[in-house]
């Protein structure tokens, strides 16, 4: 950890720290007054622990008292690694996930995936660990921290005039909730009707993911999760844009879905965000669909010149042991690392004034340029 990162924000200072190793995303928010919120979780390569946990411990935050809520926007493994240990450490935090995860078909898929180890369960196994944590607390007669949210829910509100705060979820809409239910039932049936045991089929939970609007004092932040756009007006970003507008536009944006064009709509930038606001993203360095592409970066830079990424979107070929290295090169088969070296973007601004955000990059993080 770099020395500069050990300083805590002032009580009247907002901080957004975005962690992204190239595959994975976690956001740590200082809400003012020593109160913290964590959105999603990824792993810190050096310690193998949740990146948010490592950072908060390094800057001396009392995890048990000061972390108020943990939000799990959706269960994809790049957003949930280390979530169970984070919840275990932040014993007084409320845990909030999408209301679509209450569906019995989804919970059956989670239960079935627990019997499959290794490469297979991934995010679902981690979500199962979170639920088991909560069950343990229930057995110990502790109050359950588990809550769900949907479009229009208020997750946290503080009407204190000196540090006013409101965190609201803008999704999932009723349409997306219904679509997720249908998807869960279909995938569960697919899993059960397969002749052989297989890993859980790919589900696309992005439409069920939680987009957050965070209002702290004079600042407004939009956290886009992995939300994508849909052609219909009742789902995805279309549903969010058709909601009643907030009193003011956001002046900081965590770009949705790793900067993809499916996570973008012009209306986000024109109706929800102030012009040229700072925008940050985590890449998704995967073989199948690496994000952001060059065209995505060009598009983002047309929207705002102040765009940053936690890591470059480039795949790294893994050098293997012999004879695998020689043999696979001969066959022209490349094994790529799913990246894990951390990049960290830290943005701070005063709660009380409309100052410019001060953004620092650490590790592999950098500012996007044409």
């Amino acid at each position: 950890m770099i020395e500069a990162l050990r300083d805590r924000p002032a009580n009247d200072e907002i901080e957004i720290s975005l962690f992204g190793p190239g595959y994975g995303e976690s956001i740590v928010l200082h809400l003012g007054g020593g109160r913290w919120c964590v959105v999603d979780s990824c792993l810190d390569k050096d310690t193998g622990r949740a990146a948010a946990l490592v950072y908060l411990e390094e800057i001396g935050v009392d995890l048990q008292r000061q972390v108020e809520i943990i939000v799990c926007t959706h269960w994809h493994d790049d957003h949930i690694r280390g979530m169970a240990s984070l919840l275990a450490a932040c014993q007084n935090a409320r845990f909030i996930c999408s209301s679509s995860l209450r569906e019995s078909a989804f919970l059956q898929i989670v239960a079935l995936s627990e019997t499959i180890r290794g490469a297979h369960g991934g995010g679902l196994n981690e979500f199962a660990r979170v639920l088991q944590q909560i069950m343990m607390r229930r057995h110990c007669n502790e109050p359950s921290p588990l809550e769900t949210c949907h479009a229009g829910s208020v997750l946290l509100e503080r009407r204190d005039e000196s540090l006013p705060l409101k965190i609201a979820s803008l999704s999932p809409s009723d349409t997306d909730h219904k679509r997720m239910s249908e998807t869960f039932a279909e995938k569960r049936n697919q899993l059960l009707s397969s002749e052989y045991k297989q890993s859980v089929p790919t589900m696309h939970p992005n439409l069920g993911s939680i987009v957050l609007r965070v209002e702290i004092g004079k600042q407004m932040i939009l956290l886009g999760a992995d939300m994508e756009s849909r052609k219909s007006k009742t789902g995805g970003w279309s549903a969010i844009l058709s909601q009643a507008p907030a009193a003011s536009k956001a002046d900081f944006y965590k770009i949705a879905h790793h900067g993809s064009n499916t996570g973008d709509m012009p209306g986000i930038w024109t109706e929800l965000l102030v012009p040229d606001c700072p925008a940050v993203l985590t890449p998704n360095q995967r073989l199948a669909n690496p994000l952001p592409r060059v065209t995505d970066v060009e598009r983002i830079l047309r929207r705002t010149p102040n765009a940053f990424a936690t890591a470059p979107a480039s795949l790294k070929r893994k050098r293997l042991e012999q004879p695998a290295e020689r043999l696979l090169r001969h066959k022209d088969i490349a094994v790529y690392e799913i990246p894990s070296s951390q990049g960290h973007l830290r943005a701070r601004v005063s709660i009380h004034t409309k100052d410019v955000w001060k953004i620092h990059t650490y590790g592999r993080a950098f500012q996007l340029a044409p």
Binding site: T115, R117, G118, K197
Partner: protein, 190 residues
């Protein structure tokens, strides 16, 4: 083996270069010659068990045999000295230079499913070098018969093979890692 052997009491055959199947009246044994056959062995075991739901199976076990080369004769002896210290008992009770021939340790894990675990460690008595240590592990469960839950023993056995395979391998590797880690952390004898 030149070809299949089929008698009323014993049948044995090879499937490809990796898998051998041996079937006695009361025991079915499937072996893989190397780890290349591991996946196929597992799939075959599960498939056979599923196809024979009425077989009165009383127990099912997964065995792994790992053979390691110690770096030298001293390290080879240190394995035995660590597991069966000679100073207090054996060198006093026995004449000459007693050595560990075979050590067996067992454990019970309540589960579910309940699993009995055995680990056997023995030095390999071939010409030296190399100096070899064999770790044989057995991970098995007894299957209740005539249960009031109307449980199909073959179904339980199939589930066991499907869900316990990695755990049985993890156990074997962890044991090897712990043993050799300790051996190497122990100073060499004078």
């Amino acid at each position: 083996m030149a070809g299949p052997l089929i008698t009323p009491d014993l049948s044995r055959c090879e499937i490809g270069p990796e898998i051998t199947v041996e079937c006695q009246t009361n025991r079915l044994t499937l072996n893989a010659v190397t780890t290349l056959g591991e996946e196929r062995l597992r799939s075959l075991a599960a498939a056979i068990l599923v196809k024979l739901p009425h077989t009165p199976i009383t127990a099912v076990g997964i065995n792994h045999l790992h053979v390691f080369d110690a770096r030298n004769e001293d390290e080879w002896h240190r394995v035995g000295d660590l597991l069966v210290p000679k100073d207090e008992i054996w060198s006093k009770a026995m004449i000459g230079r007693p050595g560990m021939a075979l050590l067996r340790v067992e454990d019970f894990r309540p589960g579910p499913p309940p699993v009995r675990v055995w680990a056997t460690i023995e030095p390999v008595r071939e010409s030296h070098p190399p100096y070899r240590i064999a770790i044989h592990t057995n991970w098995h469960t007894d299957i209740p018969q005539n249960s009031s839950d109307n449980i199909n023993p073959a179904e339980i056995a199939t589930e066991f093979v499907a869900t316990q395979w990695e755990l049985s391998l993890d156990f074997a590797r962890n044991l090897a890692k712990t043993l050799f880690g300790k051996v190497r952390a122990t100073p060499a004898s004078a």
